[in-house]
């Protein structure tokens, strides 16, 4: 699913958080947003997810304008920074609650995805007892479990140890192989350079640069 930002500006309160941005994210590509905290990466993610709409300009998914033709992208998995789950439920139960909304996947798939993110042993532990890294892993599991066409991962390596970062890399590559359009943000340029087909640098809500890390390999 291709994502197109056309002259997008977003104003929240009195601040311009996204400033006249044009981006084309081709289908089945890994696109990385790079920038410091507060640069606007998360806002771009929220715009793609349909959680916020542009003040001016349009964001379209396969030609359909968000907020006009469609409310949310029809098939999307989102992990925003610091994903929120219900403290009183286990990791497994939290995913079951989310999966119940669309009723597209069964408990076997939920267990499979918990295994992919390395949470099988802790799936029956209450979420409130999860470490930061485990919470992050659960957020990633929630984003990919329904095999969505678009996967948004906002700082997926936050709070993860080395093995966790490797797990994220594996997942991102697997999602692309599956045919998904992956958009991830990261302040660690190395991870993006390794994974992304295109890296877009964001600064003060504007595009400060863009490059193709693997261009020479093509």
């Amino acid at each position: 699913m291709a994502i197109i930002f056309k002259e997008v500006t977003k104003v929240i309160g009195n601040s311009v958080v996204i400033d006249n941005v044009d981006i084309i994210i081709p289908s089945n590509q890994i696109t990385g947003f790079k920038g410091i905290n507060g640069s606007g990466k998360t806002m771009l993610m929220r715009l793609i997810a349909g959680l916020i709409y542009p003040t001016t300009g349009t964001v379209s998914i396969d030609g359909k304008v968000l907020g006009k033709d469609i409310t949310f992208p029809p098939s999307i998995g989102v992990m925003l920074e610091n994903p929120a789950f219900l403290n009183g439920y286990t990791g497994y139960e939290n995913l079951c609650l989310l999966a119940d909304i669309k009723s597209e996947i069964d408990s076997d798939r939920i267990k499979e995805v918990l295994n992919i993110v390395g949470l099988t042993e802790n799936m029956n532990k209450k979420y409130r007892k999860y470490s930061l890294g485990m919470k992050q892993r659960l957020g990633i599991a929630a984003a990919i479990m329904e095999k969505p066409d678009i996967v948004l991962l906002d700082e997926p390596t936050n709070s993860l140890d080395e093995s966790g970062v490797e797990m994220v890399k594996k997942i991102v590559k697997a999602e692309k192989e599956r045919g998904a359009t992956v958009v991830m943000s990261c302040h660690d340029g190395e991870i993006l350079d390794e994974l992304a087909d295109e890296v877009i640098e964001i600064k003060n809500g504007k595009i400060a640069g863009r490059y193709f890390p693997h261009e020479s390999e093509r």
Binding site: L86, K102, A142
Partner: protein, 275 residues
């Protein structure tokens, strides 16, 4: 279909899991009941269930500013409404800032989420009143109190009606004691729900509280709290509030709030608290 999934979730998370708040309200009713019972027994009065309810939900007589008669707030009446409004204040904003962000995009539409929250707000208010009524019913049964909702002028010892009383021997105040306080909490809850997403939950709560306090101070059809005070009913005092007008006004307010909230929420920025 997704609406019912959301509603089931809201009933579980926003009502069943909040059982402590229902216990707190039951405690308030218990304390109020014992207080009224002590006062009644001290002068040898036997009140009916309706009269106990009149003491709790009756409110206060119309305030006419005069020398030596300062305004006294109807604490019990206020506390009942304010507690329920407080208990239902944070559920929706908390969900929207947290887990709700993961559920809402999966639903494919924003309005499903919003109308589920409106339904939850109404059902939660009904449940708070149901618990209060059950509590009062049980206490009455245990103390051999008549379950009648009729009141006699004896009750005016505890809740004085002021001037212009309509003469009566016995009066059944079912709608004034059951329906109108509930509808007031529901409509103010809907106002609070809508304001909490348009402005802030704290501001929304202050607005609801201000309406209630102003209602107890000033008798006006524009201040909805007046309809929730049985002692200001036109069946009790000559220039009182009409129950039918109250019911229509409160249903209208609830519907307007749900519609305005839906309009606002269609383009609402769903952000985290920190953003």
């Amino acid at each position: 279909m997704k609406y019912f999934k959301f509603l089931r979730f809201d009933l579980r998370e926003g009502i069943l899991k909040k059982y402590k708040s229902y216990l707190a309200l039951a405690c308030l009713i218990l304390i109020a009941f014992l207080d009224i019972q002590t006062k009644a027994e001290a002068v040898g009065n036997k009140l009916t269930l309706g009269e106990y309810m009149f003491c709790i939900y009756g409110g206060i007589k119309r305030y006419v500013p005069t020398m030596g008669d300062p305004f006294k707030a109807p604490y019990l009446w206020l506390l009942n409404h304010l507690l329920i409004l407080y208990f239902t204040l944070n559920y929706t904003p908390t969900d929207l800032n947290g887990f709700g962000q993961q559920t809402i995009y999966r639903s494919g539409g924003r309005l499903t989420w919003w109308f589920s929250k409106c339904s939850w707000q109404i059902i939660a208010s009904v449940m708070y009143y149901a618990v209060s009524w059950l509590c009062l019913g049980a206490l009455s049964a245990l103390n051999g109190i008549s379950p009648s909702l009729e009141i006699t002028p004896t009750v005016f010892i505890y809740v004085p009606p002021g001037s212009g009383v309509v003469p009566f021997d016995r009066l059944n105040l079912a709608s004034e004691l059951l329906l109108l306080p509930l509808l007031t909490t529901v409509s103010l809850g809907m106002l609070q729900l809508t304001l909490s997403i348009i402005i802030k939950p704290q501001v929304a709560y202050i607005a609801s509280a201000a309406i209630l306090i102003m209602s107890s101070h000033t008798q006006s059809p524009l201040l909805l709290g007046n309809y929730a005070m049985a002692v200001r009913s036109d069946r009790i005092i000559t220039e009182g509030m009409n129950a039918s007008a109250g019911i229509v006004s409160m249903i209208a307010l609830s519907v307007i709030c749900a519609a305005l909230g839906a309009l606002k929420f269609r383009k609402y920025d769903i952000l985290c608290k920190e953003e």
